[in-house]
């Protein structure tokens, strides 16, 4: 259960973020909005990777479904935001449930490749269903309620939504269900012996991950006022996977730091050099060769209390 100091620390972070627009920098507000969205996206994937031990190569699918569905409902069908957003999230969750049903029958690399196959199918639909999604021109001109059209208004909306989303994920990951997932990750056979239906648990985790991925996607689409097929492509899945691994998969907050570090680094690098891939490649080499447990693992090591980080929050 949440320790008091965690709650206090989280409240302080949210409060400090809420004060950010007072600094008056539009750039800082926009960048933070993006980081918040990616943080939620990365956290949702980590339910599957860190907590359940299943690597998905196709998480962008649910991000795209959430984003496109919200965009289409808001713009084409003129639904109010209060209906579009939940509907988009539910749709992403439903698709994740259907896809997950097939994927959790497999493990390891076969699981990963099946998630990739489904995700590329989603990409294909976004690409070819031109009447609805706009095809490779993207879906542009998303209609937003007046109060969200200003960047500060949207920032507060994102902050509130992401805070609720992260809190929900925190509760899920630290509930009996979340602990069962860790048991499945650590030793699926033994978890099975004590009566855990491991496949059903992985299925549930898949659905949760897809649902919150869809929420992140909806926020992303509205922020950019458009969704593009690149958002559904496998490179986007790889990107969020790197965020999760960079932050550290064995900690709840790790992916938040990974998302922030990667997105900020990418933004700043692109200002100075076109060689972002080289920079990212070198970062990955450092993770692989020096920091296998991510930034959080590094912090833990620097504090000299390494060794029991697995499965801790």
């Amino acid at each position: 259960m949440p320790q008091r100091r965690h709650l206090v620390a989280s409240a302080i972070v949210v409060l400090l973020l809420a004060l950010l627009p007072l600094a008056g920098s539009r750039y800082a507000v926009d960048l933070t909005t993006e980081v918040l969205i990616y943080a939620l996206f990365a956290l949702s994937l980590n339910v599957l990777i860190g907590f359940t031990g299943n690597i998905s190569f196709g998480h962008a699918a649910y991000f795209a479904i959430g984003g496109y569905a919200c965009a289409v409902l808001l713009t084409t069908y003129d639904w109010p935001l209060a209906a579009s957003l939940p509907a988009a999230v539910v749709l992403a969750g439903l698709v994740a449930a259907v896809v997950g049903y097939f994927c959790v029958r497999l493990t390891q690399i076969y699981f990963a490749m099946l998630t990739l196959a489904f995700a590329m199918l989603v990409w294909g639909v976004c690409f070819k269903w031109k009447e609805v999604t706009g095809g490779d021109d993207g879906f542009t001109g998303i209609k937003l309620p007046a109060m969200l059209t200003h960047h500060v208004g949207y920032f507060y909306f994102t902050l509130a939504t992401v805070t609720v989303g992260v809190a929900a994920l925190w509760v899920i990951c630290h509930s009996a269900f979340g602990l069962t997932l860790v048991a499945v990750r650590e030793n699926g056979v033994r978890a099975g012996f004590i009566g855990v239906d491991t496949r059903r648990m992985r299925w549930a985790a898949f659905t949760v991950a897809g649902t919150f991925g869809g929420l992140a996607g909806a926020l992303f689409g509205m922020y950019h006022r458009g969704m593009y097929i690149e958002n559904a492509f496998w490179t986007e899945s790889a990107n969020v996977l790197i965020m999760v691994l960079l932050g550290g998969i064995y900690s709840f907050v790790g992916p938040i730091f990974g998302a922030a570090a990667l997105h900020l680094l990418q933004t700043f690098t692109n200002q100075y050099t076109p060689y972002w891939p080289t920079v990212l490649g070198l970062i990955l080499l450092v993770i692989v060769l020096v920091l296998p447990d991510g930034l959080i693992g590094l912090v833990a090591r620097l504090k000299g209390r390494r060794g029991t980080h697995k499965g801790r929050s």
Partner: protein, 292 residues
């Protein structure tokens, strides 16, 4: 569809399948022995194609000298990568190996941009293989015919190497029990290095042979690596003939898909993988334990 059109398309599908098999078989060999999923394999393919462009077109050497140069070049690159970096990662988690090869993709893509720029290049058919063969009811292009000979030849050569030689026995033993093999006095790290080198050289050859068929552009690696994964996965990971079968299925699906469902050709290979994985989770010729 007339008989002629059908034959021609089946033939183009076969040629595509054979070219893809040459590339995918390298990926498959590396996975089968090293248990490493090499994301950089597509990049090796791209380097193979670019090397043939430089050697055959810029320097004016014969096309097949370019193919040999591509094989040798990729073998050297792979050997250096394996000895310097990859060998430290065999005991780490799969995820770490995967990230490592993804880092290679990023670094090599920028290196390729620095060496060859971002222009689109093409390589012509080699002299003597640019024509066509008339079979009476259908006219087949020579270069594709050539691919249909090289593909099975490489498949048989690999089968002989792995299944019929002493070195092949050692390689197969390495997939079963590394430690026992080392205890028997075999230099296992050298076996691993050799397998990675051969597998990567196959990507180079595959890229070099694909060069006359495709446009050479940055990003040509990204589709190929996914297609190779599809082939290797539907065949059964680590299974040579599975990859051959997978490549055939891939080639025909893509070729006939282009005609019957032209809008969906990019997605069809994924649909193929989906159908196979749902009906036969370990691939056409794979076994359940292959996933571990």
């Amino acid at each position: 569809m007339t008989m002629t059109m059908f034959t021609l398309n089946a033939f183009y599908g076969l040629a595509l399948a054979m070219n893809m098999f040459i590339i995918a078989s390298g990926l498959n060999l590396i996975f089968g022995v090293l248990r490493v999923i090499n994301f950089a394999h597509g990049m090796f393919y791209m380097f193979g194609a670019y090397i043939v462009f430089t050697v055959a077109k810029t320097w004016g050497a014969p096309f097949f000298v370019g193919v040999l140069a591509a094989a040798a070049g990729l073998a050297i690159i792979a050997l250096v990568i394996e000895r310097l970096l990859l060998r430290h990662l065999y005991d780490k988690e799969h995820l770490m190996q995967l990230l490592f090869t993804f880092a290679l993709v990023l670094l090599m893509s920028d290196a390729a941009k620095m060496i060859w720029g971002t222009d689109q290049y093409s390589v012509g058919y080699p002299p003597g293989l640019g024509g066509a063969v008339n079979l009476g009811f259908v006219v087949l292009p020579q270069y594709q015919l050539f691919l249909c000979v090289v593909g099975p030849a490489i498949a048989i050569a690999m089968w002989l190497l792995v299944d019929r030689t002493r070195w092949g026995r050692i390689v197969r033993a390495a997939t079963q029990d590394r430690e026992m093999l080392a205890a028997l006095g075999v230099n296992v790290p050298m076996v691993y290095a050799a397998v990675f080198t051969i597998g990567s050289a196959l990507a180079g050859v595959g890229g070099a042979l694909a060069a006359p068929r495709v446009a050479l552009v940055p990003g040509m690696d990204a589709t190929i690596i996914n297609e190779c994964f599809i082939i290797v996965i539907i065949g059964g990971l680590g299974n040579l003939w599975g990859s051959f079968l997978g490549a055939l299925a891939f080639g025909f699906v893509v070729q006939f898909g282009t005609i019957w469902a032209p809008n969906w050709q990019d997605v069809l290979p994924y649909v193929l993988m989906l159908v196979v994985l749902i009906t036969r989770p370990w691939g056409l010729l794979g076994h359940p334990e292959a996933g571990h």
